[in-house]
Symmetry: C3
Subunit: 109 residues, 3 copies
Amino acid sequence: MKMVVAIVQDKDVSKLLERITQAGFGATKLASSGGFLRSGNTTLLIGVEEEKLEALLELIRDTCKQRTEMLTQVQPIIGPIDAHVPVPIEVTVGGATVFVLDVVQFLKV
Amino acid sequence: MKMVVAIVQDKDVSKLLERITQAGFGATKLASSGGFLRSGNTTLLIGVEEEKLEALLELIRDTCKQRTEMLTQVQPIIGPIDAHVPVPIEVTVGGATVFVLDVVQFLKV
Amino acid sequence: MKMVVAIVQDKDVSKLLERITQAGFGATKLASSGGFLRSGNTTLLIGVEEEKLEALLELIRDTCKQRTEMLTQVQPIIGPIDAHVPVPIEVTVGGATVFVLDVVQFLKV
Ligand SMILES: Nc1ncnc2c1ncn2[C@@H]1O[C@@H]2COP(=O)(O)O[C@H]3[C@@H](O)[C@H](n4cnc5c(N)ncnc54)O[C@@H]3COP(=O)(O)O[C@H]2[C@H]1O
Ligand SMILES: Nc1ncnc2c1ncn2[C@@H]1O[C@@H]2COP(=O)(O)O[C@H]3[C@@H](O)[C@H](n4cnc5c(N)ncnc54)O[C@@H]3COP(=O)(O)O[C@H]2[C@H]1O
Ligand SMILES: Nc1ncnc2c1ncn2[C@@H]1O[C@@H]2COP(=O)(O)O[C@H]3[C@@H](O)[C@H](n4cnc5c(N)ncnc54)O[C@@H]3COP(=O)(O)O[C@H]2[C@H]1O
């Protein structure tokens, strides 16, 4: 058995947990925060049979991969009147940091 | 040394920590939640000497084992007057999911 | 790669994270509490390349080592009037409990 420790963005957690449990995996969620940006993120602990590890990592890759999203930001227009206009900007979101550890013994009591 | 990662029900934590510390074990508690039911539970990290691992697992088995408890639920009686009666129902509680990991180095600073 | 699990006092976390990120290490912070005293502390997860492990452990030793600090406690003076006087007392603070685990696979998605 392996223990997967996956640090993911809060934005991706709900979709990821839905897909993980639909695929029959067990998971435990811990609230966490980044050491550098100090903003909130989520740490998942997932115990998985060795032969299903690759399928789980594929699922995490699919759901959490870094991507660019278009957000609209309202910006002021320079001019005589006080007007604003929505401007599309590109932001990078997602990404996951994943560590796989060895489990020497597993029990359910 | 081994690191025991035990996911237990909130209901069993206080008794378990009391017994763990009375037996001289060290432990750290992390608030967590289940990936499937999304309800709160507790994750304990317990660093333990190899020769005491079995005693610790026995203690967790003893304190957290799944059991049925009788709860009384108040149910309405069908009839002319608005009456209720306490009815005994059986519920399963407890249980623990336990992973044992290898510790390659341990230090106290 | 190794996963360092460091349980440190809340008082030392901010300084430790500053030094860890300045040195280029990645880290994730989890709120936790002690099994014995039940008071709050912090658990850090730090994934680190094998050849940098010693430098990281040295940094944790330096920042979190147990030390005595002088606090002043206000104590009542026995006598006719209701007077208090600040008295210096020595308290032990700091300290860290550190576990190093093996990482069999690491990925960033
Ligand atoms: N080796 C490791 N061990 C344990 N946890 C790890 C880790 N590497 C990453 N993480 C976790 O994953 C989050 C996202 O990391 P990512 O590398 O995508 O994105 C990182 C990275 O691009 C950058 N960064 C992190 N540490 C840095 C440092 N020391 N110097 C420069 N940039 C850093 O800032 C982003 C946010 O970092 P933040 O710490 O807030 O949040 C991190 C942290 O919670
Ligand atoms: N392989 C694993 N890796 C990491 N953490 C694990 C794990 N297996 C169990 N856990 C943790 O232990 C809690 C209790 O699991 P248990 O198997 O007794 O009881 C479970 C199980 O009977 C059922 N269940 C869990 N995942 C399922 C799934 N994908 N499909 C169907 N039933 C599931 O729902 C109960 C509550 O699950 P929940 O996720 O809320 O809460 C789980 C989760 O926090
Ligand atoms: N083997 C282990 N596995 C997992 N986590 C561990 C651990 N050893 C220590 N820790 C974590 O580190 C904190 C500080 O431990 P320390 O040994 O410096 O300082 C400890 C120790 O001097 C003492 N202590 C802990 N457990 C004891 C026990 N069963 N009997 C007597 N004294 C205990 O009380 C202080 C505070 O303990 P507390 O539990 O509140 O908080 C602990 C706990 O969160």
